[in-house]
């Protein structure tokens, strides 16, 4: 049996969509974490870090039941889009955004916090608004962190399994990702195809990460770039 290219392309599409959205979504959150001096900031940091420690089955459970058609939020979503969150590509995207959020936000925030404060102050005294300072000073100096965060959220989404297993419904071309495909093959003793698909995924992810880290030589350490 041949490798399921549809599953591979679907997984690629999911990973690219999620890392692009996380780049947009993660920047404001990371900026707030890096520069806010609110005394309860640690609570938000804990919430952002939750998906790292919680098993993906918790997320899957909430999407299925707490955001399902019997819940007010679920009913609102259905009235908006005409279908449930589960069993759809958009449902997977939303689940993956939550699941990979800390992998994007934490490297972003760390690199923002590592930017020399004197430069930010200088920019402010020269009359730049906070937004202009962000785009002209902070972001360009944090490129290693931005690349790391985006690469990590991409790779993390490529490998996602638990959430997809719980809420995907295994629909070919819609929610049958490569990790589910490998699982299915193993379940039906098709070890040859499972092996081929697994090696392909392994090689691809390794190549992507190797390219990213080669461009970004200092970025394998998630600490501030000195």
């Amino acid at each position: 049996m041949a490798i399921d290219w549809q599953a591979f392309c679907l997984t690629l599409e999911l990973a690219i969509t999620v890392s692009a959205i996380l780049l947009a979504l993660g920047l404001p959150i990371a900026w707030w974490i890096a520069f806010s001096r609110w005394r309860w900031k640690f609570l938000l940091e804990a919430i952002v870090a939750l998906p790292i420690v919680l098993p993906p089955t918790v997320l899957g459970f909430y999407v299925l039941v707490a955001l399902g058609p019997h819940s007010p939020l679920g009913r609102w979503w259905i009235s908006l889009t005409g279908h449930t969150l589960a069993f759809t590509f958009s449902g997977l995207v939303m689940g993956s955004i939550l699941y990979s959020l800390p992998f994007a936000v934490q490297p972003f925030a760390t690199s923002f916090a590592g930017v020399d404060r004197k430069l930010i102050a200088a920019s402010a005294t020269l009359g730049a608004s906070p937004l202009r300072t962000f785009f002209r000073v902070i972001a360009p100096l944090s490129v290693p962190g931005l690349i790391t965060g985006t690469a990590l959220s991409f790779a993390h989404t490529m490998g996602e399994f638990g959430v997809v297993l719980m809420v995907g419904g295994n629909i070919p071309g819609v929610t049958r990702t490569v990790s589910i495909d490998i699982f299915d093959r193993v379940q039906t003793s098709d070890y040859a195809t499972a092996n081929q698909t697994a090696l392909l995924l392994l090689a691809f992810c390794f190549a992507v990460l190797a390219v990213v880290y080669s461009i970004n030589r200092k970025a394998w350490v998630l600490g501030p770039i000195k």
Partner: protein
């Protein structure tokens, strides 16, 4: 200097704590390996029936029955790769015969304990009149998703596909199917309302978790291959005597009654 000494003391404490934790975990794991009890791998439709049978067996004999549920195909795979179970309750005897032929199971212990029944289930608040119209309700436009178990490795999934083909509606409805890992997950998809209808085991429809929450229609037996459900003792079992005794308990009238209460038909009928 004082700072370095304190750091070293702190480090030594952490190292000691880690060693103690490691030893405790290792000895705890050793203990689990030799604990008594019968390890049972069982098809997902048996989740309520076997739990009760296991509880009553424990009351009678004091022996613990450790249950692991999953799709029969998936469990067969695990067993062939050395999973440490003593007994395997499959929703399809073909998997058991496969294991016996490969020498992984004891052919003489093979016993058919029940026949499984497939039903079409919809939530209680569904406008579909499944009780009277049966599978025709699936053609309704409001049915977006139909949940079945994955036919590649779950007997109830294969039965659902066969039933749909028998009714001549498979091609029409194939793109509305969502596949659960096993029939229990398929039941969960439809019970949570994410799928509008689902093909599940009768055992699920009458189980405490789903009873009264929906309406169902029993698919006629000639529409799908017989779900002959059997049990076998596994060759690599470390507790063959206890496994044999539990198997004897399964053959009693008491267990047969429990199976019947939970939606299984006895083979003689």
């Amino acid at each position: 200097m004082k700072r370095i000494a304190t750091d070293m003391k702190a480090f030594d404490c952490i190292l000691l704590a880690a060693c103690i934790t490691l030893c405790a975990t290792w000895s705890g794991a050793q203990e689990k390996k030799t604990s008594a009890g019968v390890g049972v791998a069982a098809a997902a439709d048996l989740s309520t029936a076997l739990k009760e049978i296991g509880d009553s067996y424990k009351k009678k004999t004091g022996v613990r029955v450790k249950l692991s549920f999953g799709a029969s195909g998936a469990l067969t795979q695990q067993i062939q790769n050395g999973a440490p179970f003593d007994l395997f309750f499959s929703a399809d005897m073909d998997y058991l015969r496969q294991l016996v032929a490969a020498g992984e199971a004891n052919g003489r212990s093979l016993y058919q304990y029940a026949v499984g029944k497939l039903v079409l289930w919809v939530p209680a608040d569904s406008p579909l009149d499944v009780v009277r119209q049966g599978m025709n309700v699936l053609l309704d436009a409001s049915v977006n998703k139909i949940a079945i178990a994955n036919p590649q490795h779950a007997p109830y999934g294969r039965a659902a596909v066969a039933a749909l083909k028998h009714a001549g509606v498979y091609d029409q409805l194939a793109n509305r199917l969502v596949l659960g890992e096993n029939v229990a997950q398929a039941a969960q998809f439809v019970e949570s309302g994410n799928a509008q209808a689902g093909f599940v085991a009768l055992a699920h429809a009458v189980a405490p978790g789903m009873r009264g929450k929906g309406k169902y229609w029993e698919v006629p037996a000639d529409a799908y291959p017989l779900l002959a459900q059997g049990v076998v003792v596994l060759s690599q079992s470390q507790h063959k005597k206890e496994a044999g005794r539990f198997l004897e308990y399964i053959k009693t009238k008491e267990s047969a009654e429990l199976f019947r209460t939970y939606g299984f038909t006895l083979p003689s009928q």
